[in-house]
């Protein structure tokens, strides 16, 4: 156990699985699978496993995603890291082939593959394509693929282990904005389940649900609200498909107040699904959504930072709801 960065934690998981399984492959484009961490050996998958197993390809994210799918169908576990700029280039093959193939073949297709889909870091200044945060919804609508989105280095490693070991194809969303996080992460492999939300804080006045890059702001807001005397329950979805309805419903049955927080666009953001699931199962609750407006992110930091949901926005919405 040591304090580890997000990327180091993830590559530790991958490195171990690749050491155990000489057939496993990794395909990347821009981001060499390299990570260092104070007091730990540098991990470099490319030099450790060689360019036949760890390959640096051209700018063709659809090939990358399709190639790991083909590798999986051939019996080799395989993973790829898709940079955020190409995050939706592979959507069609994942939606129309990978997600459907097990079912379409009556269970015969096996796809032990992981697509790490980077989401932007939402840095101000880049605009549109380089600051957006929207892939969660697109991927979560696909049946047959487990879509997960860790928000801590601990979960990032544990869910990567589970994803690599899963017989199901996994879309592993990775918000680049969480790159800066570090945490206590065990050295050995461990699994975090691919179907459970996490209750990050218990409370009885209000349930706040978020995921991925939304979590730091939610935790910050919850801490302040707690000091103000509000009893806040915080749920980190972690899994968008299959969403853990039970944890959500149990919480709101208790608090009767649900606030969802998304960095994704308002319309059809994960929070919409959270609210709908709860509303079908809990009577008499009240609801609010904080989300990015249905507008692309502008370059100007003044505009962008005003639009992107933050702790202040969340606290305001929480106070209005309770």
């Amino acid at each position: 156990m040591a304090q580890k960065s997000w990327m180091y934690s993830v590559l530790e998981a991958v490195q171990y699985e690749m050491q155990q399984d000489p057939a496993m492959t990794w395909i990347f484009e821009l981001t060499p699978p390299v990570a260092s961490n104070p007091g730990k050996p540098v991990i470099n998958l490319e030099t450790e496993f060689g360019r036949k197993r760890v390959v640096n390809t051209g700018i063709d994210e659809n090939w990358m995603a399709s190639a790991v799918l083909g590798a999986g169908l051939a019996g080799s576990r395989s993973a790829t890291y898709i940079p955020y700029q190409g995050a939706l280039m592979p959507l069609q093959v994942i939606q129309n082939v990978a997600g459907k193939l097990r079912h379409m073949t009556g269970g015969k297709a096996s796809m032990p593959v992981v697509w790490i889909i980077e989401m932007t870091g939402q840095s101000p200044g880049f605009a549109g394509q380089h600051s957006c945060y929207e892939e969660d919804t697109y991927y979560a609508h696909i049946p047959g693929v487990r879509t997960v989105i860790p928000s801590t280095p601990y979960d990032a490693k544990g869910m990567m282990v589970s994803a690599l070991r899963s017989p199901d194809p996994v879309v592993y969303l990775y918000p680049a904005g969480l790159r800066g996080l570090t945490g206590e992460v065990p050295d050995e492999q461990y699994e975090v389940p691919l179907d459970k939300a996490a209750v990050r804080q218990e409370g009885s006045d209000l349930t706040i649900v978020s995921s991925g890059a939304g979590m730091p702001g939610v935790l910050e807001a919850a801490a302040t609200l707690t000091t103000e005397g509000m009893s806040v329950e915080v749920i980190d979805l972690r899994v968008l498909k299959e969403m853990d309805t039970e944890t959500l419903v149990n919480s709101v049955a208790k608090t009767k107040r649900l606030l969802t927080v998304d960095q994704s666009y308002y319309t059809l953001c994960p929070g919409a699904e959270v609210i709908a699931r709860v509303a079908e199962n809990v009577d008499g609750a009240r609801y609010k959504r904080v989300a990015f407006p249905d507008a692309p992110p502008p370059a100007s930091p003044e505009m962008f930072l005003w639009m992107r949901p933050n702790a202040d926005h969340i606290m305001g919405a929480a106070r209005a709801l309770v």
Binding site: P22, D60, N62, S66, L73, H103
Partner: protein, 406 residues
């Protein structure tokens, strides 16, 4: 354009054939003459450029090729007749009749049984029945699948466009144009990464040329030296459009050759020409020599989908011409291609080579016809699916919740 960019060819003249002990060496000329005659007006594609590997096949194996062609043919004809005459029959197909020699010749060069990590993998298309049969899929189960039966090859989930049987290396059909070749290249990538000598084969139509995936597939196959064999079945049309609507090349193989990939054009109606080209490609891939591209010029006797224009008991479909189609194939073109039938060509070669006599050849056809008839009969007695099973197989384990009831 030179299709030989990066390859060494053992031509029949250079020992490849003469040094062979095959008793068929001396027969080759006769066979070639026959084939060339059969090509009639057409260019004798690739004849003589490729080592004549098929000459070394045993009698059994040669007869097997003929039987496979017949199985495909009679599967198509029997199913077409079902569709035309049996109002209870619900299956459909994108018929492969006319193209049988391509699937047969290619799959005969592959490893089709054994452990999954040793057999060769085939990726097929929306027109899969021929590829499936040639790869060794169980025909009765396939018939049951195409008829939506619970005991079908894929439990009734797949039907024609998603037939799959990994146990024989048939990764399966694909309803889309574009993705399959790219995915196949991923299997080839895995083979190379794990140092296996398996090969991946993808069958794709001329329609695939225009898809952006075409570039991805060939470019990465070449760059990474993948053991991928891209079999382009150029049957001249995608749906209703002639391939010249979407491709500036006369030979699509030219497009592949531009990447530096060894590329061949072969007569897709002659199973031995296809076999020769595929053998060369498979040998190269197994030896680490990277990808190959084979363009088989061929033709489908039926229309794009189903049996419009077909008559029960007759081969091929005529006279179907939907309103206002931009570029509909002329009927005389269908008839011309039917003159060079892959069944006839295969039979003639076997008879010329003394592997079979005509009587036995006809007997075999009758056997196959009966076998296929039985397969359809068996399939029609299989149970229908259980509705609730639709919630299975979404993930490896468990079922998903019903949501249609609110």
């Amino acid at each position: 354009m030179d299709h030989e960019a990066n390859m060494k060819v053992v031509s029949p003249e250079q020992g490849g054939m003469l040094a062979s002990e095959s008793r068929r060496g001396f027969l080759k000329l006769a066979a070639l003459t026959g084939a060339v005659a059969a090509v009639s007006g057409h260019r004798a594609l690739a004849n003589g450029d490729i080592g004549y590997h098929a000459k070394d096949l045993s009698d059994d194996k040669l007869v097997e090729l003929y039987r496979t062609i017949l199985k495909i043919r009679w599967h198509e004809r029997t199913q077409a007749d079902q569709m035309l005459t049996n109002p209870d029959y619900r299956g459909y197909n994108h018929f492969y009749a006319g193209q049988e020699a391509v699937a047969t010749g290619v799959c005969a060069t592959l490893r089709n049984s054994g452990p999954f990590d040793q057999i060769d993998l085939v990726y097929s298309s929306h027109r899969p029945s021929g590829h499936a049969i040639a790869k060794g899929v169980d025909i009765p189960k396939m018939c049951a699948e195409n008829d939506f039966r619970a005991t079908g090859l894929n439990g009734g989930y797949a039907a024609e466009m998603h037939l799959s049987d990994p146990s024989v290396g048939f990764i399966g059909a694909d309803g889309m144009i574009g993705p399959a070749p790219v995915i196949a290249s991923g299997s080839a990538f895995a083979f190379r990464a794990r140092e296996s000598d398996q090969v991946a084969v993808v069958f794709a139509g001329d329609g695939n040329y225009a898809a952006p995936h075409f570039h991805s597939t060939l470019n990465n196959a070449k760059l990474l030296d993948l053991p991928l064999i891209y079999v382009m079945e150029n049957n001249l049309y995608h749906q209703y459009a002639h391939y010249s609507y979407s491709c500036p090349h006369k030979d699509i193989a030219d497009a592949a050759a531009a990447y530096g990939i060894p590329s061949r054009v072969v007569d897709g109606q002659d199973v031995l020409q296809v076999y020769n080209a595929a053998k060369e490609a498979v040998d190269r891939a197994r030896a680490g020599g990277g990808p190959s591209f084979i363009e088989a010029k061929t033709y489908r006797y039926y229309n794009h989908w189903g049996a419009p224009g077909a008559k029960a008991g007759e081969l091929g479909a005529f006279g179907y011409d939907p309103l206002a189609i931009t570029s509909f194939r002329p009927e005389r073109e269908v008839r011309a291609w039917m003159q060079r039938d892959p069944v006839d060509i295969a039979r003639k070669i076997l008879v010329d080579w003394g592997v079979l006599d005509s009587a036995r050849a006809i007997e075999i056809e009758a056997e196959i016809k009966a076998e296929i008839k039985d397969a359809f009969a068996w399939a029609s007695e299989q149970p229908l699916c259980t509705p609730e099973d639709g919630l299975k197989h979404v993930f490896a384990e468990g079922t998903v919740p019903a949501r249609q009831f609110g």
